[in-house]
Amino acid sequence: MSRVVEIPAFFDDKGFEQFAHSFSAGPITDRMLFDARGAQWASPYGLIGMLTAGQAVKEAGGPPPAFAVPEADEVRRYWVRAGFFGPAAELFEIHGKVPKVKVEEMSDVLLGVTAVRAMEDVHGVVGRIQEGAARILTNELGLEPAATARFGMALSEACQNIVEHSGTSGWVAVHAYTFRRRLGGRRVVVIAVGDAGVGFRRSLEATQARRFGDRWGDAAALEAAVIQEVSRFRDPGRGQGLPGIKRYLLRWQGKLSIRSGTARLAIVPPWDEDVPMTESLAPFPGAQLQIVIPAKEGAPTP
């Protein structure tokens, strides 16, 4: 008998908490069925979240979970084009028909799900995305021409976090889409990066735990890394990546959120109603980072 892990119908960062709760409801080595039959839409954060869960099961030595694909054909096709089913097939037993659609660069998928295992992968990600990013960021989001390079830098630093801190590989994906409710239906570009690695708490424990004392935990580790900008390395030149990302997001009124273990920290722009820190969440392996860059107010709607 498999334990069913529900995939939310609308799987973005909010739906992720429902997914994490379902995933962590029993031992990670349980026989599991990821039930995506009712899925209607998934953000890159959702797609990478599912892969991260599969990777965590694999690394824990659990049996490959079954994965029931979405019933809606257009959703299956979108997930194929977004590069989800390639890595998913290595982690899950796929049940259901996966259409043979070419994984391609669509207008809305700036970067399909891409594995980040080594620094060379970061070069590839940054190099491949620039042309598409320039088109979306300047034409659709109305950002300054130099935004493409700044976006590439933010993407590079986010991906390097996987290689440097997770102790394992991870994934990155970048999509552009239109918010349904928030921001009056404005276009956004979303970067999602995730891994099933050691997470922020374990990564920083050796250098930071004593300083925080009893407060030490997932939330304190996120606070140390993102707000206090500390690094696990003693080299004073380290730890400039996340502060650099924050600077750009401030300029673009973008949003950064990072979830690790049982906590989630967000740098919240004025247009969003998220809370800066959420604790006591369902435990989830590794770290998940999301960057949302909205169109400038008044930017033309494509």
């Binding site: 970061v122 630093e157 650099g244």
Partner: protein, 178 residues
């Protein structure tokens, strides 16, 4: 004598990548090591790191290529930067400020050099004055700026510490940028 080092070429020779982007700390370390070897073969003078054909530069790589290179300061060669785009300038300034460093930027052979990084206003004024009017001692510089000699000396000493001007005896001179 100024020696130009094309950073994009160093990148291609050092790292197996079809791209021209200076990204990742590992890449930065490899590029810096290669630049360091080139500089070690020079006999003094100034090395211009030419970024004009470089794509994007991220913070980690900028820290390794520029900030760590300036921190090492093991040679008699002075490092200056050129060919910087707006985003390069922004990133490199961020990492230099983080380390309380500064560097001379020379955008064209006949252009006026400028400073990038953490330099106070007085040192900035002295730097500009030296480039506009040539070498001077602290007393002369103080007279030009309406300052006492001690104030001018402090600003000049700060520029020497950061290797942004040359000192020969009591005289301070701009870096040789030709």
């Amino acid at each position: 004598m100024m020696h130009t080092i094309r950073v994009d070429r160093v990148l291609r020779e050092t790292v197996n990548t079809p791209y021209s982007d200076l990204v990742t700390r590992a890449t930065g370390r490899a590029v810096r090591t290669s630049i360091r070897q080139t500089i070690a073969a020079l006999e003094g003078g100034t090395a211009l790191l030419d970024f004009s054909s470089v794509g994007l530069v991220d913070f980690s790589c900028a820290d390794e290529v520029v900030a760590q290179l300036l921190l090492e300061r093991t040679d008699d060669v002075i490092v200056v930067l050129g060919g910087l785009r707006e985003d390069h300038t922004e990133t490199i300034e961020h990492v230099l400020t983080h380390h309380a460093l500064a560097v001379v930027v020379q955008e064209s052979p006949d252009g006026c050099p400028r400073l990038l990084g953490l330099v106070d206003r007085e040192a900035q004024e002295v730097f500009e004055r030296l480039h506009a009017h040539g070498a001077a001692d602290a007393e002369t510089m103080g007279q030009h700026l309406g300052w006492d000699a001690e104030r001018a000396q402090d600003a000049l000493d700060a520029l020497v510490r950061l290797r942004l001007v040359r000192q020969e005896g009591l005289t301070f001179a701009p870096l040789p940028l030709l």
